[in-house]
């Protein structure tokens, strides 16, 4: 029983990591209907920025964290301006390919600048565990869970309660109509990329003590976060986190109870089954096209 709870908690922590990355996917998708395959790589780059500020320049952890978030928000805007804006509105497939290209580019440039070793960031939560009875929880995992819950709530409120959030939803629904309504669509898209890059950076920095950062971490985790976003229904913020937690728990349970090899495929099998039964994901909205 204790094993089960321990696996469950570590699965939830892992799932929150996926959920945190998936939030970035969902944000960009919700505001622009663009699927950003480079999201994981943005996270990786954010981690490296934080590593540079904290590990190499010796800044205070929180200061370095904030610096990395601001730098990445600017980078997100730049990436949007250069890669996405010229093709906004073209078939999704082109944009997917463009962001895959961006991901390739970021991975190899990071590899060239920082090298291909694993890096670690010293954080206030690096050591130390919380004991509840005989259950052991590491602080670094708890920090990920807490950050995921807070970010998810903030973003949910942002999208549903603020004018800017409503403007974002409007411009994804129908860009031309949004222009007519006086929404500065280009600026809105630019802002959402900045936010999503900032969220990715938060994920990258929180992950650093758990998974370390190296130039391929974005690809590896991005490929797990992506099913999480799909499982939750691509346009739903709570869905991303629920999907992430599901994937994390399934992975950790399969690693513990099933023979070797199932750990890596179990999330994908579950994903395929869910897509078969409910093609728009668990929290997706099903709508019909008017002809």
């Amino acid at each position: 029983m204790l094993d089960f709870v321990q696996q469950l908690v570590s699965g939830i922590a892992l799932g929150c990591v996926y959920g945190l990355i998936a939030l970035g996917f969902v944000l960009v998708y919700k505001a622009t209907e663009v699927v950003n395959f480079a999201q994981g790589d943005l996270m990786m780059l954010g981690g490296f920025f934080a590593f540079t500020f904290i590990g190499m320049l010796g800044l205070n952890y929180w200061l370095g964290f904030a610096g990395a978030v601001i730098a990445m928000a600017a980078f997100g805007m730049l990436a949007e301006r250069v890669v996405v804006r010229p093709i906004l509105g073209y078939p999704q497939f082109s944009i997917i390919m463009a962001t895959i290209g961006l991901g390739y580019f970021l991975r190899s440039v990071v590899g060239m600048i920082w090298g291909t070793d694993d890096f670690k960031i010293e954080t206030p939560f690096s050591d130390g565990v919380l004991r509840i009875g005989s259950l052991v929880l590491a602080y670094d995992k708890l920090s990920v869970i807490a950050a995921t819950v807070i970010l998810c709530a903030l973003l949910y409120l942002f999208f549903n309660r603020t004018t800017l959030g409503t403007a974002m939803r409007a411009s994804s629904e129908n860009m031309l109509a949004a222009y007519y309504m006086g929404i500065p669509v280009k600026r809105v898209v630019s802002i959402v990329w900045a936010i999503s890059a900032a969220v990715a950076t938060a994920a990258g920095v929180l992950l650093a003590p758990i998974t370390f950062i190296h130039s391929n971490v974005g690809l590896v985790l991005g490929l797990k976060a992506f099913p999480a976003a799909v499982l939750g229904g691509f346009g739903s913020i709570p869905g991303a986190v629920v999907g992430g937690v599901l994937i994390g728990v399934i992975e950790s349970m399969a690693g513990f109870y099933l023979p070797q090899g199932w750990k890596d495929v179990a999330p994908y099998i579950v994903l395929l089954v869910v897509l078969l039964l409910k093609p728009e994901g668990l929290f997706g909205v099903h709508t019909r096209k008017k002809v």
Partner: protein, 383 residues
């Protein structure tokens, strides 16, 4: 400029619309036939890879280019073809049999993947095909009694009608070329038949196709099956060319490479598959060439523009350091993909058509002919 006067449907669906086509393709064929005897063995080996990649490209083009169903799982189909060949070869099954068996089995698997894909569109389909590819990769690594797991499998030299066909010889090149040509001609025939028309109708508008009486589900499954089968055939050749296969060769990376083939070539025509394959395969030798010669060229240039020998030496070592940096290939790949998506969405074949039109209309060419219209995002959720 030539104006074709078409009087009936037969004129419209001809494979060679006019004699110019026969002449130019004849010249191309003649060049390909003499190629193995005049080119270096390295280039011939690259040409074999071009043929294999182009065959996969044609398969993927049927699915993505003509039916509009994106797939990032074609490496798995290639793997199934390759492993079928490796497995059957152990039991001394002759090449023609396991070649066809590889295609058939992959086609059946493709159809099975096609069924769940029926209800999925866009991004959901992409992720479903990625998941499928991951599962296949894991099965290949774990099903050790058949696939030998991560140790991989060795493939014996191909033997055709009692003759050994080494994978570096001209005969193997002709075999791959023949398969490619047959695939292309078969696909062209398919595309001018009702099945092909139905594919294109589904790509352009699923709702419209359905209301015209096209059985959308049936044709989507067919498209998946045909595309997978062609990829499986290429997989058999791929296995023979490499003479060793293991699961980590068939990763998402390879699937992305196949998508790059059709994207860079141009997704609207079969020419694109071949041009894209040439581009993707030939970029490797080109990059190696750059790595060796670029520092010399640039420092030479610097010297001619008045730099003294110390500066030229510095330039040389700097450029050499950048050119031989690890992972430069990835960065160049990334930049190429982004540039093609942004500036040449019709791919290499689209560029060729533009150049051709420029000369046909010589003083009258208007740049706006191919200008893209501004499109505004409209939600795909309301599909």
């Amino acid at each position: 400029m030539r104006f074709l006067f078409k009087t009936d449907y037969e004129d419209d669906i001809r494979l060679f619309p006019h004699s110019g086509y026969i002449v130019s393709y004849g010249i191309l064929l003649a060049f390909l036939v003499i190629a193995p005897f005049v080119l270096s063995s390295y280039l011939v080996s690259q040409l074999v890879f071009v043929c294999i990649y182009a065959t996969v490209g044609v398969g993927l083009m049927i699915l993505t280019g003509f039916t509009g169903q994106a797939s990032l799982g074609h490496a798995a189909f290639l793997a199934i073809g390759a492993y079928t060949a490796a497995y059957l070869q152990q039991y001394n099954v002759p090449f023609p049999v396991y070649f066809l068996a590889g295609g058939l089995l992959t086609g059946v698997v493709g159809a099975l993947v096609g069924f769940p894909a029926l209800r999925l569109t866009g991004i959901y389909l992409v992720i479903a095909t990625i998941s499928f590819a991951f599962i296949v990769e894991e099965v290949l690594a774990r099903w050790e009694s058949v696939t030998h797991g991560n140790e991989g499998m060795r493939i014996k030299t191909l033997s055709l009608f009692g003759q050994a066909v080494p994978q570096n010889g001209p005969t193997f090149y002709f075999l791959c070329l023949g398969v490619l040509i047959l695939t292309i001609v078969g696909t062209l025939n398919l595309l001018r038949s009702p099945t092909g028309r139905a594919f294109v109708a589904i790509r352009d508008s699923e709702t419209a196709a359905r209301s015209m009486g096209v059985n959308v589900s049936l044709y989507k499954v067919k498209s998946f099956a045909i595309s997978a089968a062609i990829t499986g055939l290429a997989g058999v050749l791929f296995a023979h060319k490499l003479s060793f296969i293991s699961p980590e060769m068939f990763t998402l990376q390879l699937s992305i490479e196949f998508i790059i083939v059709i994207l860079i070539g141009g997704t609207f025509s079969l020419h694109g598959a071949v041009l894209g394959a040439i581009f993707l395969v030939m970029i490797d030798p080109f990059l190696t060439y750059l790595k060796d010669d670029l520092p010399g060229i640039i420092s030479g240039l610097a010297a001619t523009f008045g730099a003294d020998s110390v500066t030229a030496g510095k330039v040389y070592s700097n450029v050499a350091a950048i050119a031989s940096a690890n992972g430069l290939k990835g960065a160049i790949y990334g930049v190429i993909i982004v540039l093609f998506v942004l500036f040449e969405p019709l791919g290499l074949y689209g560029r060729w058509l533009k150049i051709k039109l420029f000369f046909q209309l010589f003083p009258l060419y208007k740049r706006a002919t191919f200008k893209r219209q501004k499109i505004y995002v409209k939600s795909e959720r309301n599909r």
